[in-house]
Amino acid sequence: MDGESELAARFRAGDIRALARAISLVERRDPSVRALETPPKGGEGSAAVVGFTGAPGTGKSTLVDALVTLLRKQGKSVSVIATDPNSPFTGGAILGDRIRMQRHALDPKVFIRSMGARGHLGGLSLATREAIRLLGAFGFDQVILETVGVGQSELEVAAVADTTVVVMTPNLGDGVQMIKAGILEIADIFVVNKADLDGYQRVAMELRAMLSLNAPGATGAAASKPWKPPIITTVAARQEGIDELWAAIESHRRYLETSGRAQELAAKRLKDETAEVVADLARQQARLALGEDGALTEQLLKDGSPYRAAEEILNRIGSDGRKRGRG
């Protein structure tokens, strides 16, 4: 038995270490564990995915911790993927989201994985989607994503999660922040956390005012029944408001199913990811070609512009693909 299939066997047998190793492999863009992303025949295999995003220090990890506590009371198995940034200079990272989730240590139905974004800019790691599929195939009921502390344009979580929760706190900025484009547009649910601090009512009020102006964001089948993002106030550190938050997440999930939006999202997600995989493969091939092929580089430098070399590289990928298709 080679290394790969031994890992697969341990994964199917429910070995946490095999799952952890498989996630490391997808983080390295190693394709050898892709077969594990589909569940064995007849098995369940996709977990519900809720994503938490928001500025640094808004309490995302503490909210995730509180939600895990609630879900465990319901008997659900939960996995968390918590993303933190890597240094663009050294590649190193301090992944510290586990600190807030220590009370779930040693609970075999809770799996927490810290991921470095490794230079990927959307607020998640490039490997997040694959990791979600691995967690689903492993049998987790629920996946919770936590993005890096984001600014205004790290919106990838909305493309990956079924339900996106945007976390805000009092004193983050004035009313103009509320009408800017970006993160506020991707929310399926707003949480105003740290509602024990002064000013939380104002944040909630401004959000409500902004939402009352919203044009429906949904398209296609769902456009006739738009979803109105609720505003939930929480004190995550004291487990307050978490029942209401979960009720909102469930209600959004029912909306996705009944409105037909779930299928739309699933199709869009697959298309997006395919485009990303193509781009990723092309980037790798380009890097290889430019690194190894002296003649190509020479031509490129002579041209002084990238287009001819790019076309040449794309042609090669095309013929490589066709060859493999025949073989």
């Binding site: 586990r98 600190i99 810290s114 470095g116 490794r118």
Partner: protein, 139 residues
């Protein structure tokens, strides 16, 4: 098609075990490891050996770095090594730091702790040791 596997940072789980709350040292070390290109998973204070090993398995860490300033190092370090044995994960390397007498260092190394660093150790020495141990990855 060849795969780009160039990005392969070594993952190090860093924890404080036992009941002491002196985390300045461990945070400085964590920062130095980050600057050396490692992915450092910091799990915070008051961890039990079982918690540390469980987290290291979930995180697929190749290394566990422990900081102990309570004087309980002769109990806690071997307990982590034992727990790794119990979970069949002895490939994970354990190193540590703290106020540890020379004789204890010798004894702990015999018990399976790979290396121990005492106060005043230059940070570069820790990084150099890790680079030697994991020449294929990290910074």
């Amino acid at each position: 098609m060849p795969v780009d596997t160039a990005v392969r940072p070594v993952r190090i789980l860093v924890a404080k075990v036992g009941l002491d709350g002196h985390d300045r040292g461990v945070k400085v070390v964590a920062r130095a490891l980050r600057d050396a290109g490692y992915e450092v998973i910091y799990t915070g204070l008051r961890q039990t050996p079982e918690m540390v090993v469980d987290a290291a398995l979930q995180e697929d860490a190749q290394v566990i770095g422990l900081s102990i300033h309570s004087g309980a190092h002769m109990t806690l370090f071997p307990a982590v090594v034992q727990e790794l044995k119990r979970r069949k994960a002895t490939d994970i390397v354990v190193f540590g730091g703290g106020i540890i007498p020379e004789d204890d260092i010798v004894a702990l190394k015999k018990k399976g702790v790979a290396e121990l660093f005492t106060p005043g150790t230059p940070l570069q020495e820790i990084v150099d040791w890790l680079r030697k141990r994991f020449p294929q990855g990290g910074g």
